[in-house]
């Protein structure tokens, strides 16, 4: 697989396939390295460097990294075509139309490689009046309705950290490639896949889209409230800014919670779901008074044992130490020459007979130029040197 792709939406698709053994080549250029390398913190020790990016590392383990300067036409374009002819799958997330303008559209690339599968992952799709509007996932999460649903009623929408919707598109992009590979295996036919992050995001909101169309209701943000449960929220615990989520969906769970709280007299008032809903602010305060006496983990374990749903609000420092994530294990610690020890992330689905990586750290910029161009693509040493001298491989 090759990636004419940067940031998250394209490369993390490749990462999931690399984690399962695919040969994935990430193509960049020294003229324009991956944006994560170039200008997107964190960098190790807050010192900027093209090989010090934590996000590049997270999204590109187990890949080869090569440079190719597409600004050097026609030699760069010809070389790109040659690489695409070598590949089973091309992933690109340039803004729509860019690959075509470079002479690297699907029609062109599939001439020499008719079974080629190419995924174009874009914000808004390859067609339509807004197709050429480029943007980042962090903002597309607003256009696609997610931030409207985050925050307090009547207050400002609140941020969903990072490019939330990019990683939704990652799942659908990987699904699309795997389905196309399977289809090609059976039919011999390649595929061009147009995946709009916007459209993948809306898959997650189907019920409230239907609600608007049928009932005219506009879904609004309502903090942690849930029409089917009460209490339902994050409750304070011992310590600085420590919280535990608790939810109660029925009377059995409520009775279990009351018992775990040692039957406080105030609980009688909240015996029915309706009573809990009508007095939910008061209920939250009273439950919060009780939870304050516990460490978050102690509270979660106490409640889970009692038959009540509860979960620690893990902080970013906690996710590497969380006993469940450690047990899976969800992280693989690998050594990187400039970053040092880094936690690389395993896929959230673990294939039990063919377990996934990460096995190798992310590559340095241009690390595999000679290996890829000479060994895998089959350029002669002279051809390779010439392209390096001409700054086509650059």
């Amino acid at each position: 697989m090759i990636e004419f792709a940067a940031f998250a939406a394209g490369p993390v698709v490749g990462k999931h396939l690399a984690d399962h053994g695919a040969t994935v080549v990430h193509i960049e250029s020294k003229v324009r390295p991956d944006g994560f390398r170039a200008h997107y913190p964190p960098y190790k020790d807050n010192v900027h460097g093209l090989n010090r990016s934590g996000l590049y590392a997270l999204c590109n383990n187990d890949k080869l990294d090569i440079t190719l300067n597409l600004k050097k036409a026609p030699a760069g374009t010809e070389l790109a075509k040659k690489i695409a002819a070598w590949a089973d799958v091309v992933i690109e997330n340039f803004s729509p139309g860019t690959m075509g303008r470079l002479g690297l559209g699907y029609e062109e690339l599939s001439k020499a490689n008719p079974g080629l599968i190419m995924l174009s992952s874009s914000n808004l799709g390859q067609s339509g009046p807004h197709a050429h509007h480029a943007g980042f996932g962090s903002q597309l999460s607003s256009l696609a309705g997610f931030t409207h649903l985050t925050g307090y009623p009547g207050g400002s929408p609140q941020i969903l950290y990072g490019p939330y919707i990019d990683y939704i598109a990652v799942a659908y992009g990987a699904v699309a490639i795997l389905a196309a590979l399977d289809y090609r295996r059976r039919t011999g036919k390649g595929n061009y896949i147009d995946a709009a992050q916007y459209e993948t995001g809306l898959q997650y909101l189907a019920p409230i889209l239907l609600d608007y169309k049928i009932n005219g209701r506009v879904a609004e943000r309502n903090a942690n409230r849930n029409p089917h449960a009460a209490p339902h929220g994050a409750y304070p615990c011992k310590g600085d800014d420590r919280w535990c989520a608790i939810s109660v969906s029925n009377d059995y769970e409520w009775q279990a919670l009351v018992k775990a709280m040692k039957n406080p007299s105030w609980a009688k008032k909240f015996a029915t779901f309706e009573a809990r809903k009508v007095n939910e602010d008061e209920l939250d305060l009273l439950v919060g008074e009780w939870t304050r006496g516990f460490e978050p983990r102690e509270l979660m374990e106490t409640l889970q044992k009692a038959g009540v749903k509860a979960g620690v609000v893990n902080r970013m420092c906690d996710v590497y130490e969380d006993p469940q994530l450690k047990q899976r294990p969800q992280w693989v610690e690998l050594e990187h020459p400039e970053i040092g020890k880094m936690h690389y992330q395993r896929p959230p689905f673990l294939l039990t007979k063919t377990p996934p990586g990460p096995a190798k750290r992310d590559p340095l910029l241009a690390e595999h130029n000679e290996y890829f161009y000479c060994e895998l693509l089959g350029l002669s040493e002279e051809e390779y040197k010439k392209l390096v001298d001409e700054q086509v491989i650059y």
């Binding site: 993390v12 170039a38 200008h39 960098y43 900027h48 934590g54 997270l58 339509g128 807004h130 197709a131 480029a134 943007g135 256009l143 309705g145 997610f146 649903l149 985050t150 400002s156 929408p157 609140q158 941020i159 990072g162 990683y167 799942a171 659908y172 795997l178 389905a179 289809y183 039919t187 995946a195 459209e199 993948t200 809306l202 997650y204 909101l205 019920p207 409230i208 239907l210 169309k213 009932n215 506009v218 879904a219 943000r221 849930n226 304070p236 989520a245 979960g311 609000v313 902080r315 970013m316 969380d322 994530l325 047990q327 899976r328 969800q330 959230p348 689905f349 039990t352 007979k353 063919t354």
Partner: protein, 421 residues
Amino acid sequence: MAVGDKNQGLLSPFRVLDLTDELGFLCGKILGDLGADVIKIERPGGDPARRFGPFYKDQRDPEKSLYWFGFNNNKRGVTLDLEKKEGQDLFAKLAAKADFVIESFTPGWLDKFNIGYGALSKNNPKLVWTSITPFGQTGPYAKFSASDIEIMALAGCMSLTGDPDRPPLRVTFPQSYSWTGSYAAVGALTAHYHQQLTGEGQQVDVSAQATLLWAFSHAHVFWDLNRHMEKRAGSFMTGRSITGAKMRVFWPCKDGYLNFIIYGGEAGRRTNQALVEWMDSKGVAPDFLKQKDWKTFDIAKVTQEEIDRMEAPIAEFFKGVTKAEFFKEVVKREMLGYPVASVKEIFEDPQHAAREFWRELEHPELGVKITYPGPFARFTNGACDLWRRAPLIGEHNEEVYCGELGLSKSELGRLRREKII
């Protein structure tokens, strides 16, 4: 657009048995979108998620849940009591011929009845069995129960959402189930591809908690690299500048909110320049903004003071702009930024109409066509689409049990009376 031919679907030769609750609905739907024959197996009387709102015309009825409609279309449906011996036998028969099983029971529950992966893969070693649970099949939390909010909490997502002086938040409409279902589909298809190449099936162990680590995935890396902890910052973005400066993300406008961020890099340069030009065309761009050299503006080194000074006149300007005006201008001027859309504005977006995104599915028993979000991607060969509305309770019992397993109608009647189906 009307529905197409499911036999054109990319995965049309394959059979999926879907025993999931809401945590896994989207996994089966995705395989169904790709044309696989997905049979949703519900308990007699119907899946508990049919009680989730919203409801068609606000009528609380297990056959009118829009939650059910939205995530279970492209599936057929049968009922089956897996706690009864005959139910277990029927399931084993179905599983012997299936390509995929997707389930979300508490780890070990199916094994108790000898119908877990271990037992059923003996007769069908090529089976791809995807188990979708909040925390995975093994480990200290394996038997914990969790709904959306506990998953969002334990994955760290809530620690990044909400105002710093108020409790951590989740997204009001549950997100973790969709995340988990869609990543489970990636796992199922990865195992499927391996199975098609080698004949070897396997169990895929999906964790919702692990899935949601990806949703806000950037944040934890700050801790890993530099022991800097990202936290919830309300409507501000952090982490772009090594000085710790926060950038405003949401700006009140005439009819709601806009999402606009002062970015760095090449894209930021263009946007910042274009915004200043737009403001200048209305005579409200202050000199210091007009004189700023965006080529040398370095977002990674910007201070809070500098950001605050830049944001003040921009905030004033946006107060007089509508969401629709903003959207039009950002497209025209090739700026980064979008309105904060509600479901209403999503339907109004001409992009979806131009791409013929929406699909209409017939609901004959309601006498209506309902509009659904369309395919998640467009393929030039083989189709991905919406084929059929979600099943009614036990709608395909006869089709599957009589038509495929060869039961007689009188046997079917008995199974129904004995509440096995």
